[in-house]
């Protein structure tokens, strides 16, 4: 019981509460929502978002933001397309190439933010526009098709595949391993590595971080490079699912990622945010999008609803915080 109570004191409590309420509403609206097939569908649809959000989480904890993430993922998918069709290789090499490409763009962002001290939003807006141009230059705006099997078949691979008598099958999608791997890795980095704690330290108080011996520039650069690596991984998974490279697939993606991270309890001013919260945030946003489709709500209303839900979720968090501050007694008045 004590455990449960502690869980509700956590920052994630607000979002979990709304999450449950929303799930109940959707289930009443359409009971297909809770079918295993639909739940698997929601998770699979949001893997790319989930992985990208883990990268964004690190940057947001440092107090920064990376609006170039959508276009970094795009350019990595282009590299994946070009590399796999022209060079060949295998999945392992492709993952390395993808992550290295992402890391390179992340490094560019990191240098701009950490060393040249540009505001993160300005720096990443700049790189975003440059990458946008590069992508269109290379692809001419056209799809890259006919990718080798090892990548285009990735989304169809399952572990423990069980055929059902009535046709169809159940199994554990291999691409889920990418998400799970990214979650575990990010959790480990943030919770158990010195640089991970440094990300919180720098996000909380740069000057103090420097005084205890951190090098804030390195820590910041690491956060952006890590985001680049996650973008690379996300690009691999995305390509494995959609099997083509679409130069415009990630337009506006960065805002969805940022929204998911913020809904998951991270503070855009830096210092706060968890892997658990972010992952719940991603799934939550996925559930809402899916649920509104199931309830046949027109697209325009969906956008409005998503916006409202973001505001409500974040407001609950802020109100909680204010109440907590108010409860802190300033002066002990003795009667």
């Amino acid at each position: 019981m004590e455990r449960v109570r502690n869980l509700f004191k956590k920052k994630e409590a607000g979002i979990i509460t709304i999450f449950i309420i929303v799930m109940i509403i959707i289930t009443i609206g359409n009971n297909a929502f809770l079918s295993p097939a639909n739940i698997m569908n929601i998770l699979t649809t949001n893997i790319v978002m989930g992985i990208a959000a883990l990268g964004m989480l690190l940057v947001i904890i440092t107090g920064g933001i990376d609006v170039s993430i959508g276009w970094v993922i795009t350019i990595v998918t282009v590299v994946i397309g070009e590399f796999s069709t022209k060079v060949g290789g295998n999945l392992f090499i492709l993952i390395l190439v993808a992550c290295a490409t992402g890391a390179a763009f992340g490094l560019a962002n990191g240098i701009l933010v950490a060393h040249l001290k540009l505001p993160a939003i300005v720096a990443t807006l700049g790189t975003m526009s440059i990458i946008n141009g590069l992508v269109l230059l290379v692809t001419n705006g056209k799809y890259i098709r006919e990718l080798p099997d090892y990548i285009s078949g990735l989304g169809q691979q399952y572990l423990f595949k069980v055929e059902m008598a009535e046709g169809g099958f159940y199994g554990f999608p291999v691409i889920w391993l990418f998400w799970i791997g990214a979650i575990v890795l990010t959790w480990f980095v943030l919770r158990h590595t010195l640089v991970g704690r440094g990300i919180y330290a720098v996000g909380g108080n740069v000057e103090s971080a420097e005084r205890v011996g951190y090098r804030p520039k390195r820590v910041l650069t690491f956060a952006y490079v890590y985001t680049g690596i996650m973008a690379g991984l996300a690009a691999v998974v995305h390509t494995g699912i959609v099997r083509i490279v679409d130069p415009l697939a990630f337009k506006g993606f960065e805002m969805q990622v940022i929204a998911a991270v913020v809904v998951g309890g991270a503070n855009v001013l830096g210092g706060y945010g968890t892997v658990l919260g972010t992952t719940i945030g991603v799934i939550f946003m996925g559930v809402i999008n899916n649920g509104m489709v199931l309830m046949h709500i027109p697209t325009f209303y969906q956008k409005i609803a998503v916006g409202l839900i973001i505001l409500i979720a974040v407001s609950i968090d802020v109100v909680q915080q204010t109440m907590k501050e108010r409860r802190m007694v300033k002066v002990d008045i003795k009667d």
């Binding site: 590595t193 704690r197 103090s208 005084r211 706060y272 002990d332």
Partner: protein, 491 residues
């Protein structure tokens, strides 16, 4: 044997020589007080010692009679040079455990954090400083006094040889200062050498062994506390003889402001007093007595639950600082760094920010009016250097304080509330602020001075209100002494 020695330490910033050829030694196990006016070079010297800044070529720091290379904070920490900063330098977003012990992991350059070891270290240090708190609580959620203990505990996890304490008592109440000194004495007995930076004379003589005076980036003198008096020290610090001015108590009988039964839950209770025209009313008491909360209520920054405020006998309602300014109130907050000034903006802009209405010409701000007004106030309050376009953050503490006061004087207030007007500024600047406040009151302004510094309150105030646990417990006038006030505030 000297544990630490500065040899010809200099530091130049572009265009400024912050430190020039500082040389002195600190003996093992002593409390070595570093004293000097703001801008004397204390902070620069500490930054060099802790590896945050690097000294000019030719400067040498010797530790245990060996030349030390301090190129980064980690180097300094590995040498056992640890600092406790005035602002605590804590991470509000991290737990108590991590605040205390994370730094040790950083200096050991571990890649993976040892949480168990951290907790053990942290709990030992907490015990040492008698900090009772949930180790997993975020530092944002603990009280100021406990934060101070966290900051001390953090220093103790290192293998401390030289502990630097930068104005450690500035946020503490009397009782907490005693507790801190207790810890300092224990550390000293354990063989730690302490460099103690402070402005407060009583403290210096209570805790210090040797005292080194810096002035304008130069080394002036090191003396044993037994061989020097406060007057001599002050003279060395300011370079001229300062007489601590005591102003007479004036009797006034023309109430401007009357506060009746002001209450706010968990802040203050039954606050009633009058303020006369041309009077300086002191409000003192321990930190946490509710003084700031109370004056902020008058200025509309802290909504009271009940009670009434009368101006010239007429009841007024103040919901926000905008209302308060309309009624000709001015408020100089305690923390000029975060509340009083926009540090990155120019002196001129800071001076004008409260009177933009008056500087309008048509719908636009008049550039000439702005420059004129700024120049006028800079001259009136002798704010130096006279560079209106310089960012305010680059001024010394005393000058910054004058800018905050000038900003409010420009609004032509009838009632001026100043919260800790001389906190963290040097003695010379303090005296000038005192004189300024007296002049303003002579000109008919009514002033409320909130201050923890008793000599200050006694010196400049006509009447003194003493607060304790959110209530006014006594009022004193002629003949008030520090002992009496302290008695009322504590007992």
């Amino acid at each position: 044997m000297s544990v630490l020695e500065f040899r010809n330490v200099s530091k130049s910033f572009p265009g400024v020589k912050a430190l020039g050829d500082i040389s002195f030694a600190v003996e093992k196990q002593e409390v070595h007080v570093l004293i000097g006016e703001n801008g004397a070079g204390k902070s620069t010297l500490i930054k060099i010692l802790t590896g945050v800044n690097s000294a000019d070529p030719g400067s040498e720091i010797w530790i245990d009679n060996k030349k030390a290379e301090i190129g980064s904070p980690v180097d300094a920490l590995n040498l056992g040079i640890v600092a406790i900063y005035q602002d605590f330098s804590l991470f509000d977003n991290l737990s108590v455990v991590e605040n205390i012990a994370l730094g040790l992991q950083v200096t050991r350059q571990k890649k993976v954090v040892d949480w168990k070891g951290m907790r053990k270290k942290a709990e030992q240090a907490m015990k040492k400083v008698r900090l009772e708190a949930d180790p997993d609580e975020l530092v944002a959620n603990i009280s100021v006094a406990k934060k101070q203990l966290v900051a001390i505990a953090r220093a103790l996890v290192y293998d401390v040889k030289v502990l630097i304490m930068d104005e450690p008592t500035s946020c503490l109440s009397q009782g907490e200062v005693e507790q801190l000194f207790e810890i300092v004495r224990e550390l000293k007995a354990d063989g730690v050498t302490i460099i103690f930076v402070s402005h407060k004379m009583e403290e210096i003589f209570e805790i210090g062994d040797q005292i080194t005076v810096l002035r304008d980036g130069q080394y002036i003198k090191t003396a044993s506390k037994d061989n020097i008096t406060i007057d001599e020290l002050i003279e060395l610090m300011v370079g001229r003889k300062v007489t601590y001015e005591t102003y007479g108590k004036r009797k006034m009988n023309e109430p401007v402001l009357r506060v009746e039964n002001l209450c706010k839950k968990a802040n203050f209770k039954d606050i009633s007093f009058e303020l006369n025209k041309g009077e300086i009313l002191g409000v003192t008491g321990l930190v946490g007595a509710g003084r700031t909360e109370m004056v902020q209520a008058i200025f509309g920054l802290n909504k009271p639950d009940s009670g009434a405020i009368y101006l010239h006998g007429k009841k007024i309602t103040i919901h926000s600082p905008v209302d308060a300014i309309k009624h000709k109130f001015g408020y100089v907050p305690e923390n000029r760094l975060t509340e009083g000034l926009v540090q990155t903006q120019s002196i001129k802009r800071n001076l004008n920010v409260a009177i933009l209405e008056k500087l309008k010409k048509g719908v636009f701000l008049s550039d000439t009016a702005r420059s004129k007004s700024a120049a006028n106030w800079m001259e009136k309050l002798s704010i130096k250097p006279v560079l209106p376009d310089m960012p305010v953050g680059k001024l010394s503490g005393g000058n910054q304080q004058r800018v905050v006061i000038a900003k409010w004087l420009a609004t032509d207030p009838e009632v001026l509330i100043v919260d800790e007007p001389t906190a963290g500024i040097d003695i010379g600047a303090k005296e000038e602020i005192h004189r300024l406040l007296r002049e303003l009151s002579d000109g008919g302004m009514s002033i409320i001075v909130v201050s923890s510094e008793l000599p200050e309150v006694i010196s400049i105030c006509d009447r003194i209100l003493i607060m304790k646990n959110g209530r006014i417990v006594a009022e004193m006038g002629e003949g008030a002494t520090q002992e009496e006030i302290l008695n009322k505030a504590v007992l």
